[in-house]
């Protein structure tokens, strides 16, 4: 699945980097470089929610898209988008576009000193 999504995103001309687990991603990612993160909700070792908490704890509000199974759909988290597997191209692209949008706004707000960071 990871390979498939990587290929799909690359095939529309976006740059993507894949990781095998939450800790792997957290150890490698540089918040500034990414515009959006796609997380599996159900992962061995550290699940998607725990990864989100870590990202938030690091003070970064990188937009998150969760992928979940139809039967293990978690409670809605307002700051994240949810897609149910199997994911179709259209919904994934819409979600990524929205994520980019919110990321751009966040960066802008941060740069302008507005928002959570505050004055």
């Amino acid at each position: 699945m990871r390979e498939g999504l990587t290929a799909l995103i690359e095939s529309v001309g976006l740059s993507v980097q894949a990781f095998g687990s939450g800790p792997e991603f957290l150890g490698a990612y540089i918040a500034e470089a990414a515009a959006c993160v796609i997380l599996d909700w159900n992962m061995p070792g550290m699940n998607g929610l725990a990864v989100l908490r870590e990202i938030e704890a690091s003070g970064n509000n990188l937009p998150v898209i969760f992928l979940s199974g139809s039967l293990d759909r978690p409670a809605t988290i307002p700051t994240a988008q949810f897609l149910t597997k199997p994911v179709l191209e259209d919904e994934l692209m819409i979600a990524i576009r929205q994520a980019f949008e919110s990321n751009r706004r966040a960066r802008f707000e941060k740069a302008a000193g507005i928002g959570k960071g505050g004055l």
Binding site: M1, R2, E3, G4, L5, A7, L8, E10, S11, V12, N42, M43, P44, N47, L67, G69, S70, L71, D72, K85, P86, V87, L88, E89
Partner: protein, 495 residues
């Protein structure tokens, strides 16, 4: 042992047992020859020592002529003294007196010669026409004695006497002192039976009839009980078949229940490759639509589609096999592979419940012979029980350990499933495998009971114990397929 009957050679008499003492009344010397020649022929041909004490009316030459004429190889019999011809008068008398002591001695001597000479027995015929009336009483007593004692020895005795001139009293005496008599009158043979013989024959007839009736009755009884037995056997067979079918159905229902519990996990295991397929398919379209088309990347995407389809098919195949009705099978089953496939089914459940797997499978294990679906049911049950028992554990890692190994004798394969859960109540240990015994609120209590039966049907025993620290271990060993090869190295992998 029953001695075979002896042929008398006399048609009307037929075959008789040893110890037969009978009498012949004859009208003429010709009658005597007619009876005695075939009588001795039968004796000689059956290796009996033959003695003929002849009547005054016959000469030895006459007798020998008749015998030689009728019996092939008679001269050899005569020269080897297999047949002796003596004059009756000389045999029985000393001077003018009846000498029965001499006669008794004489017969004994002949009998000894018969037995020591390799003969089957002694066959004699004696004519008593010479007997003086004054000796009649004494002779009758002697004959009676012979008649009473002959039954014990391998001897046939045919006494002959001319019918003309015989008084009724003499005839009565003769028939009384012999087992039976035959008489030639007006060219026809007749049998004169004693009343004892008649009674004995009638009794035998009655007994035969009775026996026959009882045989028929008993046969009827046996036929009836045989039918009843067959009916019971087929009824029992039907009942056993019904029981087996019910057990199989119960096992299937339990499997379906477990599969139901796994629905989320199974859906996930199918959804993962499906997501991959959809994504790779879309990517492939994009690579092909690009200018110029990126064929290499498109090919890679299609290869992944094929791989993911196979993976989804495996899961669906396993689930279908677990759920559908199918007759039990006996085929080689690779337990390591079966463990991996079963972990795939439960994979998402293991991830969701944050269970850590510690897998220690011995490489190159030979297969076991059995039913793959039933064995998978056992593994699935043990895995699910282990996962469930760790649900409430938050203070230590939830670890599911799975081990496969050769037992020391190399003839069996051990599978052990270990968890770090709450273990089982030692009080309930004895009932752990009982049907309807459960500690789960929604449990049916059939899982372990069925698992134990399945393992037993495969030649093993499922056992359980609490670990020294935490949780429980379940173990069973199955006979390795005899046609398999030697053990391989131990490989430890942790996922």
């Amino acid at each position: 042992m029953v001695e075979p009957l002896r042929q008398t050679g006399i048609g009307m008499v037929g075959d008789v047992p040893w110890g037969t003492h009978f009498f012949l009344f004859h009208e003429t010397a010709e009658d005597l020859i007619d009876a005695c020649v075939p009588y001795f022929q039968a004796g000689l041909e059956n290796k009996e020592l033959c003695i003929w004490a002849i009547a005054d009316t016959l000469s030895e030459d006459e007798v020998r002529y008749c015998l030689k004429h009728a019996i092939r190889g008679f001269d050899d019999y005569f020269d080897s003294r297999s047949i002796e011809i003596v004059r009756g008068r000389e045999w029985y008398m000393t001077g003018d007196d009846l000498d029965l002591e001499k006669v008794t001695r004489g017969w004994k001597q002949k009998m000894d010669r018969a037995l020591n000479g390799g003969y089957a027995g002694l066959r004699l015929s004696a004519d008593t026409a010479w007997l003086d009336k004054r000796d009649w009483k004494e002779f009758c007593d002697y004959e009676k004695e012979v008649n009473d004692s002959i039954g014990d020895s391998p001897m046939l005795a045919l006494c002959t006497y001319p019918l003309p001139g015989s008084a009724a009293a003499e005839i009565l005496d003769v028939t009384r002192t012999h087992q039976f008599a035959i008489a030639r009158r007006n060219k026809a043979w007749e049998m004169v039976e004693t009343s004892e013989l008649k009674q004995a024959k009638a009794e035998i007839l009655r007994l035969n009839g009775d026996l026959e009736r009882r045989v028929v009755e008993r046969t009827r009884e046996l036929t009836a009980s045989n039918l009843e037995l067959r009916r019971q056997m087929s009824e029992r067979r039907r009942a056993e078949e019904a029981l087996l079918a019910a057990q199989a159905e119960l096992a299937r229902v339990t499997r379906v229940t477990v599969v139901g519990e796994l629905a989320a996990s199974v859906a996930h295991e199918v959804t993962q490759p499906l997501t991959g397929i959809a994504a790779n398919g879309t990517a492939c379209m994009h690579w092909l639509a690009a200018a110029p088309p990126n064929i290499d990347r498109a090919r890679t995407a299609v290869e992944r589609i094929i791989r993911d389809s196979a993976r989804a098919s495996e899961v669906i195949h396993d689930i279908r096999a677990l759920v559908k009705k199918s007759p039990p099978r006996r085929e080689p089953v690779d337990l390591n592979e079966l463990i991996s496939r079963t972990l795939t089914l439960a994979g998402s459940e293991i991830t969701r419940t944050e269970v850590e797997l510690q897998i220690q499978m011995t490489d190159g294990l030979p297969p076991v012979i059995g039913d793959r679906v039933l064995l998978q049911q056992v593994l699935l049950n043990l895995f699910m029980n282990a996962i469930e028992s760790m649900n409430s554990v938050n203070v230590r890692p939830r670890v599911l350990g799975i081990r496969s190994e050769w037992l020391h004798d190399g003839e069996r394969i051990l599978i052990a499933v270990q968890d770090s859960g709450t273990g089982f109540d030692p009080q309930g240990a004895a009932r752990l495998f009982d049907a309807f015994y459960t500690t789960k609120p929604q449990g049916m209590g059939m899982g372990l009971s069925i698992c134990r039966n399945i393992v037993a049907a495969h030649g093993g025993q499922l056992s359980a114990r609490n670990n020294p620290d935490h949780g429980a271990s379940f173990e069973f060993s199955l006979p390795a397929d005899a046609h398999a090869h030697a053990p391989g190295k131990v490989e430890i992998a942790t996922a």
